[in-house]
Subunit: 188 residues, 2 copies
DNA sequence: GGAAGGATGCGGCGTTTTGTCGCAGCCCCC
DNA sequence: GGGGGCTGCGACAAAACGCCGCATCCTTCC
């Protein structure tokens, strides 16, 4: 929308084990004029790194079954020091965000993230500007986002997600139906 | 837990505008054999920096009224490049954690944090270990913690906290009464 | 000292949301 | 074909919530 003309990277590495989500994301990014190289696991990503002549950006899913997407950051930056790396995750905790950033990630997003969100996160540098994120999140928003995360972490399984959330399955069902548009946040 | 014999820094800068909390923290850290230099705002902290011969660690409150504790990171690291800096905040969002880390913070904590938590955060390097805390949090627990944070951010003012949370004051009252001890952790 | 503004605790009461049933439809797999 | 698991949904009682009002207490400011 209003992330009008960010500098879309020419080449981007997408590390994501969910094939469906990967292809969606890939297509969305391609539509912005970005050549996306996709890998589904760490080994494939490492192998892919060696074949690429250049890489401007990378989007890494943190949760890759047995692998951890964070482990790609070091070898990636070793080969392409200028590459802008962001980490994507289903859950998303503060501790994990700190870990990712300390390893060299530029930003840290929680799913679901649109192509616009991703490009935005690649573009912006959270460190430099006098940016004051520190916003008072509403209870409902917090709940909704958390539900989405847990749901995602359980592959959309409502029954298990409800159990993990400590609420009844029926309640989760009703809540999910109630909120078709999760008040998608945006700024800038 | 096993934060038994962390390397307690000899000198520490504490930037915290809440005088009461500052003195408590100061005392707790001092009990661990740490010399604490306290500043209540950015200007005082900057002035304090120039007078110190050495500094091993710093604990910065992010929310300092008009000031932002993050703004001390750069000048602090410019003078003491080896100083271990952690940021403390009432709220604590992922975006803020990323911002703090990118500016050079070693870790990012949310209040309330005990002296043990602080020393632990100073000691540990969140980047290196394969540490994946990533636990499945319950909805109620998440809500409760968030409520506590917002409440704390508003100095315990129920009316304003309720407004910030987007719920009715009466509801907040009832909730607070319902949950007297939500696994309150602290010691030291 | 008294008035004014704001915060708190609490009692009701009508409305909304949850918890908990149960049941039917699906899909997968032994 | 018969489990076992997940899903969507109707129904109904129980709990929680929003919202009112009112009686305290505090400050703060005439």
């Amino acid at each position: 929308m209003e992330s009008a003309h960010v500098t879309v990277p020419a080449s981007l590495l997408l590390l994501e084990d969910d094939e469906l989500l990967a292809s969606q994301t890939r297509r969305a990014l391609a539509r912005h004029g970005c050549q996306v190289h996709w890998a589904a696991d760490l080994a494939a990503a490492r192998a892919l790194l060696d074949t690429l002549p250049a890489l401007e950006a990378a989007v890494l899913d943190q949760n890759l079954g047995a692998d951890n997407g964070l482990d790609l950051i070091a070898p990636l930056l070793a080969r392409f020091p200028e590459c802008r790396v962001i980490v994507l995750t289903g859950y998303g905790s503060i501790a994990a965000a700190v870990a990712a950033t300390r390893r060299g990630a530029r930003n840290y997003l929680t799913k679901p993230a649109s192509a616009g969100d991703i490009l935005d996160a690649l573009e912006r540098d959270p460190g430099e500007p006098g940016a004051l994120p520190e916003a008072p999140p509403s209870l409902q928003r917090l709940e909704w986002e958390h539900i989405q995360r847990v749901l995602d972490a359980h592959q959309g399984n409502i029954s298990r997600a409800a159990q993990a959330l400590g609420i009844h399955r029926r309640t989760l069902q009703r809540r999910l139906k109630k909120r078709p548009s999760p008040t998608h946040f945006q700024q800038d």
